[in-house]
């Protein structure tokens, strides 16, 4: 599918190496079993927004597929499908690390352990973390290596919005979005 999120596994088995550039959405929860909806909402939203600029590969176990599809349905309801696609890849963590990640142009993950990998390889990386106070934080690494200007800007904007919105309260001044 050229645009929109690929929601079936069967049509999504193309080798990533021939589809460069691509990004990887790597979430340990979907590689280990059945994830919680709350774990998926933010990473899937971020991947969808970025997928307007770059195709994604999303490795997951079959047991996670149903909940992933439900969450995607909820996120995408009523939105324009501006996406180069998010392709499910049925593989485990090790396959993902050896096959997908090394050739990717961007890695989006909630696995803080991958921060070290990014630092070693200089791979552009967005790490979504849940902090002790239940807020979310997105850390970007090697952003300058993202060559596509639109993707870089979108990534920076999304990260900043998430961090400001989630990280605390706007206590004074002016805020243009009155929700």
């Amino acid at each position: 599918m050229a645009a929109g999120v690929q929601t079936t596994q069967a049509a999504a088995q193309a080798l990533p190496a021939v589809e460069k550039p691509y990004a990887v959405l790597l979430l340990p929860a979907v590689l280990e079993g059945v994830p919680q909806k709350q774990e998926l909402l933010l990473p899937l939203t971020l991947a969808y927004l970025l997928s307007a600029h770059i195709a994604f590969h999303f490795p997951l176990r079959e047991s996670a597929l149903a909940v992933v599809e439900r969450v995607f349905d909820e996120i995408l309801s009523g939105l324009p499908k501006e996406s180069k696609g998010i392709r499910y890849q049925s593989m485990d963590g090790a396959e993902c690390a050896s096959l997908l990640v090394p050739h990717s142009s961007l890695l989006v993950t909630d696995d803080r352990g991958l921060q070290e990998l990014a630092n070693c390889d200089g791979l552009p990386l967005a790490v979504i973390s849940k902090l002790e106070d239940n807020s979310n934080l997105v850390r970007l690494h090697h952003l300058a290596k993202v060559s596509e200007v639109g993707l870089r800007a979108k990534l920076a904007s999304c990260a900043q919005l998430i961090n400001v919105q989630s990280g605390g309260f706007i206590t004074e001044g002016h805020f243009s979005l009155s929700w």
């Binding site: 899937l44 900043q160 004074e172 929700w179």
Partner: protein, 577 residues
Amino acid sequence: MRLYILGINGYHGDASAAIVHNGKLIAAAEEERFNRQKHCAGFPSLAIRYCLEAAGITAAELDHVGISRDPSAHLHKKILFSITRLSGLSGLIAARLANAAKVRNLREELARAVDVPAESFRAQFHNVEHHKAHMASCFLVSGFDKAAILSIDGFGDFISTMWGCGEGNRIEVLGEIEYPHSVGIVYTATSQYLGFPKYGDEGKVMGLAPYGKPRFLEQFRDIVRTERDGGFKLNLDYFLHHSEGVEMSWDDGSPTIGRIFSDKFIETFGPARTNGLSLASHYEDIAASLQTRLEEVGFHILKHLYEQTGSKRLALAGGVAFNSVMNGKILLHTPFEEVYVQPAAGDAGTALGVCYWIENVLLQRPRNFIMGHAYTGPEYKNGQIERVVRSSGLKHRLLEDAELTRTAAQAIADGKIVGWFQGRMEFGPRALGNRSIVVDPRRSEMKEILNARIKKREPFRPFAPSILEERVAEYFEQTHPAPSMLMVYQIKPEKRAAIPAVTHVDGSGRLQTVSRQSNALYYELIREFDRITGVPVVLNTSFNEDEPIVCTPDQAMDCFQRTRMDVLFLGNYMVER
């Protein structure tokens, strides 16, 4: 086990704090009463200090602290909305957020407020989603074991309306309406268009509506479109908030909101009324149309909610729940038979909701408190009041309780404007007989006299009656209790001439039903007035002059001396000029 919970509404209009000990509400108050900035939207430092003092504990002894906002709630929707709807602006938004907003977390802010290191807190900190706090604030203190719940306001945590079912310690959310769709926003936008731009001005438009005819109802039906699932959607062509954002600023003071209505509003209804221009019937008709549509949409949601829950009891909260005209018609237009509206139904009340969400829902401790009145603020003993009275240099005398109410009732019956400052300050926007100005409702000229001498309000705005609870049926078409002055009922036609100063142009009155149980002294005052006049009703308006309602005896004395009030009953002291 001893358990203290502090609830906070901060960084929203009407910042406030509440404290609960073992399930009992110890204190609750708005920040504006202490810092004297109307609808203050900063952090409620002074209200928190008051709550801790009232509970007799330090912040270090708190077990739980919660705030009625959860930045993580619906976060993905906020991000999606920003990036996909405000196309081309995402970079700008991010830059503005970074440059203009100061962001702090709750623990640090509380530490600053009470001047202790954050490390000294043993409490667990919680974020409670805005509308869940509203729902908790009405249902969990309503005394209803099971009820339908509706929370409806402008916005909070990306949601404008949330409904559900409460049973025991459980609150189940059955539906919600997301940004940018909000009837609260429609009311605010139309109020702006009508020349009432200040935060909280929506009540003025509600008061204006009975002067007009709803001849623009079809246009408002186009602006707010009801849906089959009980919800509604806005025709966004009429608004700016979804496309350009709306600037809201407060800088630790009163909030101000940028223009929400679009040029489509002007194309449809003509030029907006600028503040100060006279209110032509055209604008009154727009107000009437807005109010009628709000009621239609409100009843649409409520009928659906009744079908979902099957409960004939309703707990109601959120800023739109201050629309007492709509509230008063709920029993007439929906299947509900009992309605509980918490006195601080707006955002201030979410501080209370946070406490009970933590106490009853999170901790699953038993419900053991019913909020039967709003008197949860500071109180002052006669010893403290004596200092204020003496330093004023005014003529004064100390009265026994019985003499106090008799003397005050006689002064009211004699046509005097009476300041009535007693007991604990009210929580919520209404003065309910403890921080009130009380006058004779039988005198039609009283409305003009009050406005000329003290209140300076727009002449179209009505004044409200307080009535002995057991006498309501004599004067009003409906008798469901309204202890928080959040219901408007029709006054019986044959009684309107008896209480003209509190009868609105359409024959309605926003009544406060007063029982001995909820406020014995105020009840006695009205009873004395009834003994003298045969009318069990007084006109009750808030003790203030274009400022937050007075909190302390000093503020009351200052207001008394500044205005042309005739006599002040400050505790048991009677003060005259």
